[in-house]
């Protein structure tokens, strides 16, 4: 059932039907009623694709992230979706994984689809190759990178450097001097956190001690085991993720250490993991909701044609004190 059929049945032209559909005022009340009757009788729904061809927009935004199962991404994506929905946009969920070529493939598809905007959540996207096809994309479609940077894109950044710094400061205030850091694998954001730890330690004239491991519960537990073989007098452990911190706590407790009395631990993300952990983790709220909100708002104004000259916004994380320090 399309607009022609409606028009025929109502005995009017398609323009009139279109006017009724779009609530234009220049329609005779009687005509309008007649058309509306036919419309509801057939449960008519206009084709958004056809409308999209005319308006050159399907009112669609894409959210790229490594994996929606990671709570931090889910939290940010959730806000983005709700913000976009309020503005009449639907959101395509793209779980790109960490392989660059897969992200590129997604971007290519989104480019054909003529999405109205793209939000990439996560620092992995900072590492995308600066190819001509990507430049072509970012020139045609407004892009916002959350927690990362990409040439031609606007950014909403989290000050992870300061976030980890706050955790270290908190431990120093509590009297700790030998503070270790557990770095998780690979990303740009993990590197910024490491830098934040090192800078904070340096500020206090303390010796950094860095362990590295997988970003998972097991990674944290395994890291704790390695750490305990040579803890270099450390009384505190700063982790780059709540999940690794939870693993640390679990391993420490299982080996008979008391947390925080024998070993203090901090996490990162202020996730549910931190609250489930016993004792609850002191952690850093990196505010994924705020990040998602600002990304969506920025994208929205870009889609409205505002070429803001503010290339990036920075969100400040906040320390959340739990019982693990």
């Amino acid at each position: 059932m399309n607009i022609y059929d409606i028009a025929k049945e109502a005995g009017v032209s398609i323009s009139t039907v279109s006017r009724v559909l779009n609530g234009k005022r220049n329609v005779n009340a009687e005509t309008r009623r007649k058309v509306e009757a036919v419309l509801t009788a057939h449960n008519y729904v206009p084709s958004a694709i056809a409308q999209g061809l005319v308006s050159r927009s399907m009112r669609t935004v894409a959210v790229l992230m490594v994996d929606v199962r990671i709570p931090n991404y889910a939290r940010a994506a959730h806000v983005v979706e709700s913000e976009c929905a309020h503005r009449g946009y639907n959101v395509l969920m793209c779980n790109t994984g960490t392989v660059h070529s897969d992200s590129m493939r997604y971007l290519e598809i989104l480019s054909r689809r003529q999405v109205d905007g793209i939000i990439m959540i996560g620092s992995v996207y900072s590492e995308l190759i600066d190819s001509p096809s990507i430049t072509n994309l970012t020139q045609r479609i407004p892009c916002v990178v959350a927690n990362g940077k990409l040439p031609g894109c606007y950014s909403v950044l989290i000050d992870d450097f300061a976030g980890i710094g706050a955790a270290v400061e908190h431990l120093v205030e509590k009297g700790h001097r030998n503070i270790a850091y557990f770095k998780d694998m690979g990303t740009d954001s993990a590197r910024r956190k490491l830098n934040g730890y090192q800078a904070a330690m340096r500020r206090h004239g303390l010796e950094p001690y860095v362990l590295e491991g997988e970003s998972s519960l097991e990674g944290g537990m395994e890291g704790a085991a390695r750490f305990l073989e040579d803890r270099r007098g450390c009384t505190a452990m700063v982790c780059g993720e709540d999940i690794t911190a939870a693993g640390m706590v679990k391993a420490f407790v299982q080996k008979g250490f008391r947390v925080p009395e024998d070993m203090a631990v901090t996490g990162y993300n202020a996730s549910l993991y931190a609250r489930i952990c016993e004792p609850t983790l002191t952690t850093v709220d990196n505010r994924p909701e705020m990040m998602g909100l600002m990304s969506a708002q920025l994208l929205s104004s870009l889609m409205d044609g505002q070429t803001e000259r503010c290339a990036s916004i920075t969100v400040q994380p906040a320390l959340v004190v739990g019982k693990s320090t």
Copy 2:
């Protein structure tokens, strides 16, 4: 830059350009090269919207769920997205919340958008009003409900009844006789779990004892406090969610109970929460990935026009034994 411009610049007709774009074989090799040169020179990307108008499909699938931040939904949605992506479909993420009218609004929007299929994940959608507009929708668009039923839709069900039953059986085998159940709020699925508990208790001639509370860590902790005021000799607590079970364990441990020696606890979902919990939870894997996979496969075959006469598939959950029992 559209197909006309390309045609003009290459000195051919738009049909020829279209043929080249779609890799048709009836194009002169020389002509093809000429067109391709123009194509790449302009970094041309065909409009998926225009193609969609012709094919009446934007190759889009929608996933409805209450909230992507709930791990179980995220796990299912992730599989759905990856399955759909493999088949050339993109996935719209719709966080509907628990309010029916909001879900209805989403369905209406998706209907206009002419999505190719809809997957609703969660038993809340069983409670949607059976209005004419919904019937109209499900008649035009293939719909699959995961863990729920809706007239006119195919279903992939989880046997939560058996899942909770398995947890009870496990406790009975361990020698427990007085086993309480913590029911979380509202949904159809929560009711099925409760039924599973009651049936399993009846099977063994045991007296059910049901507490109810909010589906959150705090809900579990608060439930534990209420429970301990009058535990009726119970030595075990079956919970409908890992997160409430984690709250229970936390509260028990904080009050000096040993888990599982003084009080055994089981969860549901086999989530990361269960593994973070100390001791790790005995839980039930309700296999959201399998559910997502089967939903996507079912939807896929429906979209291919196969009107399967198998109206519903049931997935069996599996007990995962941890240290909390």
